[in-house]
């Protein structure tokens, strides 16, 4: 019985706090001058924004990805060509050694 009364008192107290919050926390209105000035500034800024935002971030990310792939491909191609050149040079040198060794024997 006493417990029920305590629970009822508690919930009454909480709803009293709620109604006090409702009375005290009410929306306020910003100054109309502030709203219109900020709007003008934002519109000006929006007009000056670089075209990046107009393409969208995903387009920029894709473009970056393709560029990185191209650079990586170019680097690998250069590396492969360098290895090929070194191999050819080594083969050429080896064949020259073999020729000179054969001449020495002869």
């Amino acid at each position: 019985m006493r417990k029920d009364k305590e629970v009822a008192d508690k919930s009454q107290y909480l709803s009293a706090i709620e109604s006090q919050l409702q009375r005290s926390l009410r929306p306020v209105s910003p100054r109309p001058d502030f709203i219109s000035d900020l709007r003008k500034q934002l519109v000006n800024q929006l007009q000056m924004l670089p075209s990046v935002s107009r393409f969208g971030r995903s387009s920029v990310i894709w473009l970056g990805f393709v560029l990185i792939l191209l650079i990586l491909g170019g680097f690998l191609l250069t590396l492969r060509s360098a290895i090929l050149l070194i191999s050819i040079a080594a083969l050429f040198q080896q064949s020259q050694h073999q020729t000179s060794a054969g001449q020495d024997k002869g």
Partner: protein, 193 residues
């Protein structure tokens, strides 16, 4: 022309000034209210509201990746801007809410001048002493009239977690600040009882 948030945002991200204006008009008052109750004065509320919209404008292209309603996204930006402001302010100075919001200092709202009671002064200074997440919850619920689900989206929590946080906030208002509130609430209970 009528835009829903999604359409307005898509157009605004492509540089459509009219669409951006629609979004701005739709949310500037709400964001201002939210910030005003967290800062306690109009000058800072205006400054921080402007920062929120500048930041939103710069990142408007990345909005879709976040999977949040636009309102939640804007409130999160506002929350971050406020967190930075509180951090910077705590290093320099503190403006007591009861001197600003309740109309003792310059730059107050006429609404506060009209209905300026001791109850409100006490309650606002008490709310200001609560942890930031509880302040945020009370403002979103009572000033902005958001549902628990919407508050959950803004605060990155589940609806159940918001309900629980709300209940704990009321209890802490009762337990920790009960003495201050007692005289007013007893009156309410008498009226209801």
């Amino acid at each position: 022309m009528e835009f829903d948030d999604e359409a307005a945002l898509t157009n605004a991200a492509q540089g459509d000034i009219e669409a951006f204006g629609v979004l701005y008009e739709r949310y500037v008052g709400r964001i201002y209210n939210y910030i005003f109750y967290r800062t306690g004065n109009t000058a800072d509320a205006e400054d921080l509201t402007a920062r929120v919209f500048y930041r939103a404008m710069r990142h408007i292209g990345s909005y879709h990746d976040r999977g949040l309603p636009l309102s939640a996204w804007l409130y999160r930006i506002a929350h971050n801007v406020l967190a930075n402001w509180h951090r910077d302010n705590s290093r320099s100075k503190e403006v007591p809410l009861d001197e600003t919001v309740t109309g003792k200092a310059d730059g107050q709202h006429p609404e506060f001048e009209l209905v300026q009671t001791e109850e409100r002064e006490q309650l606002l200074s008490i709310i200001r002493c609560l942890p930031p997440d509880r302040q945020q919850l009370l403002i979103l619920k009572f000033v902005e009239h958001f549902s628990n689900y919407e508050i959950g989206q803004i605060m990155g929590r589940t609806e159940g977690a918001i309900k629980s946080l709300y209940h704990r906030t009321l209890l802490s208002l009762r337990d920790e600040y009960g003495v201050v509130l007692a005289s007013d609430t007893e009156m309410d209970i008498d009226e209801k009882g």
